[in-house]
């Protein structure tokens, strides 16, 4: 695959909604994006080896998989774990990258990607909220947020409040600190998330999940205030930077 563009597998089906714009964001950054239905991957018995061989990135897009029933991302996580048996940490160890946005992030949390002592639940105000937030990347572990400054992104969720186990709080925060896992924070407090956490990465920095939607800000005209700066109307949006970072990483990994 060295002569081709790096490939990304974008999951679809069962109530995943944002596969099209997610694939578009990857395509704009240089990837070849494939949208695949979860059921097809299961019936074709796509293994972790296949995944590593074929794809540089696995994307879990936003949506309302299984209607958010039981808990957001819960049944999707079970389906990936039991139906495909992919151990994402091994995918990362072998050079793969994973992005989970919103519902995809929730599923990553339910799979235990960021440890067993965190969870995610209803916003503190008890409501779905669609608004734009400022998020600040921290640390240098995460390959997706490398070199980025504060940026504006939309959030659109009812369950975005990250919870850290009360009994293990100190250990978890120490671990996050040591491994650079708490890689994205809100500047404000839109949902009551602990430590203002907006996104997390795994200890390799290659698996990244976040509640805001970077794929919804790939052109400047998506920003709520763009009409005040019409001269920037043709500029790319700030969310594209995550995907471009991943592209650089994928190209780099290949050499």
């Amino acid at each position: 695959m060295s002569t081709q563009q790096p490939r990304v597998l974008v999951l679809a089906g069962d109530g995943i909604n944002c596969q099209t714009e997610s694939a578009q964001a990857f395509a704009m950054s240089g990837f070849t994006a494939e949208i695949r239905h979860l059921n097809d991957l299961i019936s074709e018995k796509v293994t972790l080896d296949d995944l590593c061989r074929r794809y540089a990135v696995l994307m879990l897009p936003g949506g309302f998989s299984f209607g958010d029933d039981l808990a957001s991302g819960k049944v999707l996580a079970l389906k990936i774990q039991h139906g495909l048996n992919w151990e994402l940490s091994k995918f990362a160890d072998r050079g793969g990258m994973v992005l989970g946005v919103c519902n995809g992030f929730q599923a990553l949390i339910r799979m235990g990607t960021f440890g067993k002592d965190i969870s995610i639940t209803h916003n503190v105000q008890g409501k779905f909220v669609d608004t734009w937030v400022k998020v600040a990347p921290t640390g240098s572990r995460c390959v997706w947020t490398k070199g980025l400054g504060t940026l504006d992104l939309p959030i659109r969720h009812g369950e975005g409040r990250i919870i850290i186990s009360k009994n293990r709080r100190v250990e978890v925060l120490t671990k996050f600190e040591r491994l650079g896992m708490a890689c994205l924070r809100y500047e404000g407090d839109p949902n009551g998330s602990e430590e203002r956490l907006a996104g997390l990465c795994d200890p390799t920095g290659r698996i990244f999940g976040l509640m805001p939607h970077p794929e919804a800000f790939v052109r400047w005209t998506a920003h709520p205030e763009w009409t005040a700066q019409p001269a920037r109307a043709s500029s790319p949006g700030q969310g594209l930077a995550f995907f471009e970072n991943a592209y650089q990483e994928a190209i780099h990994a290949r050499q």
Partner: protein
């Protein structure tokens, strides 16, 4: 094995579910809320699974337990997942008052009601256990644990009935503390009892053994032997007029006496009798009568819009006044649809019109490759009975219209307009009506779940309050969609079926839910309205079906598709059958939610998430294979034919055989009388000001500031941000202009003002956009529905122009969708007169602006009859017309928002501003307090279409880039000029000085409403050039002020009083934001 699982948040975590419920109790019963000190919610699952205990325990832990935050109470199944005491006692210990006085309300679904969560839980077990689970059942429910000193069973029952449950679909029980402390509810026998039972078959359906003798011998009398079990015969032959009408009423067919006679006579036709004999039919079956009733229902057939109408105008024009455009309304009208809607579109032959009126939605060409389609529906009656379920199915229902339009389109946005009673309503509620707050809360949640979960952004809408919407809330749900103009070698608007194509039902299964929805919505709401008319939505099943169908479309796996909405299979197959000339289906082949459905129920059930398709025989295997891979259920019901008949079988036995021509064209035409007597005198006083006078208060200078603040607080004007932000308006990544304009986003100082319309950019590879807007103004209906309709067309188009839509060339895409929600006009010449005037007003405006109608829908029975405090009351909604307008934005990088962008911008009023106070928000509001001080005659704003075309042409002409010098554009609508200026100031908290021109009546200028007007801001540097441009193009304008950083709105000018007046922007913001925010 059987299990009961209770899932609850550990006490150290906030419980938003409980908090939400307590808030709703506060709204509904503040006195009960005061008695509650503490509350927690508990999710409950009842399991009946074919697996052993050892298998069940790890699976339950995997599926239900989030050990970070939750406890599981399972009796003795998984004690380690609970707290110290192993159950609900641990939760009680967390109550602030101990020992407390505890109660629990538990709710669960009634038998047969769709239980989405239970279904997902079952799927989760299948995933985890790695096998299909046959004969398994999971039901979901919820408990609410409350503590309070003076709580008692009656208070709990009130909460259960009014807040916690909808008794149409749920049942509840109250458990006192004693009960709760015991663990009886975890016992196997008890769980078995608590699991909702599947519907018991009401009659046993077996393959019939036919006794031709009895069937043929029976031709009279009402106690006939059945054709087969489950099919009743309906002998009409010997019934007189009154008996026919009674029968129709009893069976909920909603057929008139004339229609019953037409049906009776059809079955007497000799050729039908002999044909029926061959098929083993003679007396009409209930299946046949149900199919006729559904097909002929007002909901499906739009008989009122097809009626012949005699129109009489009893008003005489004032002396010396030239006859207005309404003088052109003919006295004999050959169908309102034909003369005012279809004809308007015919007179505007636009090159981009691809399919209008014939299909589920109007289809227009977006560009060379893609088509755009739009449909707006109403879901009023279901939302009145079950606001959440009704609104949810309204959204997913209109989504299916888009999915079933042409060869199938992908929904790209939703629009939602709600009309409800005042949230502050404090009188007694008439029987069976819900409080507007409860209606709005349910409707909001329904639309949120329907739209957000489906991944379709809700980009535009409105919220309108009027006391008369208490009788029936109006819930308009619209959807826009995109599809390629060519799909697998066919034009996208093609609807073609060949005899021999298979009839496929895909998606959800059939249940008893939603039986008689179409006929029920064709009746007034009364105490006996059937609960079975309520349907429950399941967005996830629909989402799977949508993904599947779009894939199948691109592969060319079907020939035609339509939605199963009102009337169920009866309508969908009955309609599609016209394309091939017949259909023959066996409804016993349809997948059902539970056994025991009668043939007629299978035919007319409106169970959700179903589409009907025509699939060519040779493509069937590929079609079925893809469906099964996508987890979508299908039922192969039969085939399309060219027999000229719609034939329905059950277990291979014919139970209905109806001539298609008769079915679709046999309904007798209505004849209606229409009268116009002038303004509606009987309308409630706070809405109608037919003969009032202007509030020429002595002191505009002293009091106008307060009036402005009061207007901003009016529910119809105040911020809807609390609602808008609960809808995902950006999913699919197409958003350009959002419902709100915002400054300081992401910071604590963020503030949002309203935009006029939404713009989405549907294609990654093209900068062209679609703008969508709406116009609605029921206040004007009380004065003159003709002007009301003109105004809403104008407003919808103006809103589009605000955001940058094109206008004025033949290629300019600008299309309208009309939705009428009317009080029943049948037998009421005055209400029919209103309808006639609205239709002709709408036609007048649409022709003047060159905007064709592409789709529409009407809902004609928006009345309530019942009792309030024991007295008989009737409430009819005000005549309400919603116009949804869609246009093209040539390049979204030049679209505009309504907020002023900075200090030093010149503020202009575009349009000659002939505002009137009559029918304005000011009039509605001041009617209450300023009555006696009115002195001058009130005016009504009137249109000038020549002027409109000049302004709109200038704003929307060319390719959209020309007018980029306009910094902000906002239309002048509810509340008038000063409200519009204020709304443009809000986001940035700017100030402005507005000069009231000399020689105008200041109240009228500042707060009057009218046609064709915009507030526009232009940078100081561009002002001269833009003014010159306007002068050259005969665009009337007036420079009325300038923006600044002084943080206040200053109103000056000779007419405003010697010193003028001012209000701080901070106060304007507070006023606008305050009211309406209740959840």
């Amino acid at each position: 094995m059987l299990a009961r699982i209770e899932v609850t948040l550990r006490p150290e975590y906030d419980d938003p579910n409980a908090a939400g419920l307590l808030r709703r109790i506060e709204l509904a019963h503040p006195e009960i809320r005061r008695r509650i000190r503490w509350g927690r919610s508990i999710d409950v699952y009842w399991l009946d699974l074919p697996c052993a205990r050892e298998e069940l325990i790890p699976a339950c832990i995997d599926i239900f337990w989030d050990h970070v935050m939750q406890w599981l109470f399972t009796g003795n199944l998984i004690p380690s997942a609970a707290g110290k005491q192993g159950g609900v006692l641990d939760l009680m210990d967390a109550s602030p008052v101990r020992p407390g006085n505890f109660f629990t309300i538990e709710k669960r679904f009634r038998a047969g009601v769709t239980d989405n969560v239970g279904r997902t839980a079952l799927e989760a077990f299948e995933i985890v256990l790695g096998r299909k689970l046959e004969a398994a059942q999971i039901a979901s429910g919820r408990m609410f644990l409350l503590e309070g000193q003076q709580l008692d069973e009656p208070a709990l029952s009130t909460i259960a009935r009014d807040v916690f449950c909808n008794e149409l679909i749920e049942t509840w029980t109250v458990l006192p503390e004693m009960e709760l402390r015991k663990s009886d509810r975890f016992h196997q026998e008890r769980i078995k009892r608590d699991l909702p039972k599947a519907f018991k078959p009401t009659s046993r359906l077996v393959t019939p053994t036919l006794n031709l003798g009895t069937v043929f011998g029976a031709s009279s009398g009402t106690t006939l032997p059945p054709l087969m079990d489950g099919v009743d015969l309906c002998s009409l032959a010997d019934l007189g007029d009154q008996e026919l009408a009674n029968l129709s009423h009893k069976k909920l067919w909603a057929l008139s006496g004339e229609e019953m006679k037409a049906a009776r006579d059809y079955f007497k036709r000799p050729q039908e009798i002999s044909r029926r004999n061959v098929q083993g039919l003679s007396t009409p079956t209930d299946v046949e009568m149900e199919v006729i009733a559904q097909t002929w229902s007002e909901h499906c057939k739009h008989k009122i819009f097809g009626a012949k109408i005699r129109y009489q105008d009893f008003t005489s024009p004032a002396l010396g006044q030239a006859p207005g455009p309404d003088a052109e309304i003919p006295t004999e009208i050959d169908g309102l649809f034909k003369t005012t809607i279809a004809e308007t579109t015919q007179m505007l032959p636009k090159p981009w019109l691809l399919s209008v009126f014939d299909d589920n939605a109007g289809i227009v060409a977006f560009d060379q490759e893609d088509a755009f389609c739009i449909k707006v529906e109403t879901h009023n009656s279901p939302s009145a009975l079950d606001p959440y379920g009704g609104a949810l199915t309204g959204v997913v229902g209109v989504n299916r219209d888009i999915l079933g339009c042409g060869l199938g389109a992908k929904p790209i946005f939703n629009t939602d307009v709600f009309c409800v009673g005042p949230l502050t309503y404090s009188e007694a509620l008439p029987e069976r009506l819900m409080h507007p707050r409860r209606i709005l809360d349910g409707v909001r949640r329904g639309v949120e779940h329907g739209g957000n979960k489906s991944g379709i952004p809700t980009v535009n809408g409105a919220l309108v309050f009027d006391e008369r919407y208490l009788g029936k809330p109006l819930v308009y749900c619209g959807t826009g969609g995109m599809m390629p103009r060519m799909s697998a070698g066919e034009l996208c608007q093609t609807k073609r079926i060949l005899p021999g194509d298979r009839i496929l039902m895909v998606g959800g299964r059939i249940g008893k839910d939603g039986i008689h929805g179409a006929t029920f919505s064709s009746l007034a709401l009364d105490e006996f309205s059937p609960s079975s008319a309520v349907q429950l939505g399941d967005p996830i099943t629909q989402k799977r079906m949508t993904d599947f169908l779009l894939e199948a479309r691109d592969l060319g796996l079907y020939r035609a598709v339509t939605d199963n909405g009102a009337g169920g299979l009866s309508s969908s197959v009955g309609e599609l059958a016209r394309l091939s000339g017949g259909a023959r289906m066996d409804v016993s082949r349809a997948k059902t939610k539970y056994p025991g459905l009668k043939p007629y129920e299978l035919v007319v059930s409106e169970s959700q998430e179903r589409m009907t398709l025509a699939v060519p025989r040779d493509l069937l295997p590929a079609f079925l294979d893809l469906a099964s891979r996508r987890g979508v259920e299908t039922s192969d019901l039969g085939e399309f034919t060219d027999s000229g008949y719609f034939e329905i079988l059950y277990a291979e036995r014919v139970v209905a055989s109806l001539n298609l021509e008769f079915l679709h064209r046999g309904v007798p035409r209505l004849q209606l009388e229409a009268h116009w007597n002038g303004p509606n005198q009987s309308a409630r006083s706070n809405n109608a000001v037919p003969h009032g006078t202007l509030p020429a208060r002595k002191d505009f200078q002293a009091e106008a500031g307060e009036v402005l603040l009061a207007l901003l607080r009016q529910p119809n004007i105040a911020s809807k941000e609390w609602l808008i932000r609960q809808y995902d308006h950006e999913v699919q990544g197409m958003s350009v202009i959002k419902p709100l304009n915002t400054a300081g986003s992401g910071s604590a100082l963020a503030f949002s003002g309203p935009n006029d319309a939404a713009v989405v950019k549907p294609k990654p590879g093209s900068n062209a956009g679609i703008a969508v807007a709406c116009g609605i103004n029921p206040k004007l209906s009380d004065i003159d529905p003709f002007v009301m309709a003109q105004a809403v067309v104008d407003e919808s188009v103006r809103n589009l122009l605000c955001v940058g839509a094109e206008f004025g060339t033949p290629e300019s895409l600008l299309a309208l969708v009309d939705n009428f929600c009317w009080p029943d006009p049948v037998g009421d010449p005055v209400k029919t007169g209103w309808l006639v005037r609205a239709c002709f007003g709408m036609r007048d405006a649409a022709l003047a602006l060159g905007a064709p109608f592409v789709s529409g829908k009407d809902s004609m029975k928006n009345d309530y009859k019942g009792r309030k405090n024991g007295e008989v009351v009737a409430i009819s909604v005000p005549p309400t017309l919603l116009i949804t307008a869609v246009g093209r934005v040539p390049d979204v990088q030049y679209s505009r928002s309504a907020d002023f962008k900075g200090a030093g911008e010149s503020i202009y009023l575009l349009g000659s501003g002939r505002f009137g106070v009559l029918g304005s928000e000011l009039a509605s509001m001041l009617r209450i307090s300023l009555d006696s001080e009115f002195s001058e005659q009130l005016r009504l704003g009137m249109p000038d279409w020549d002027e409109a075309r000049r302004i709109y042409q200038w704003m929307g002409g060319g390719v959209g880039k020309e007018q980029s010098r306009m910094k902000a554009v906002h239309d002048v609508s509810e509340g008038g000029v000063l409200v519009a200026v204020t709304e443009s100031l809000l986001a940035r908290g700017l100030g402005a000085t507005v000069v009231v021109p000399e020689g105008v009546e200041p109240w009228e200028f500042c707060f009057g409403e009218g046609f064709h007007s915009f507030i526009v801001s232009v940078s100081e540097a561009d002002s001269f050039a833009v003014e010159t441009d306007w002068t050259l193009n005969s665009v009337p304008f007036r420079r009325i002020g300038v923006t600044h950083l002084k943080g206040q709105l200053e109103v000056t000018g000779v007419s405003a009083g010697p010193r003028g007046w001012s209000v701080e922007t901070k106060k304007l913001r507070q006023a606008w934001k305050r009211e309406g925010f209740w959840e």
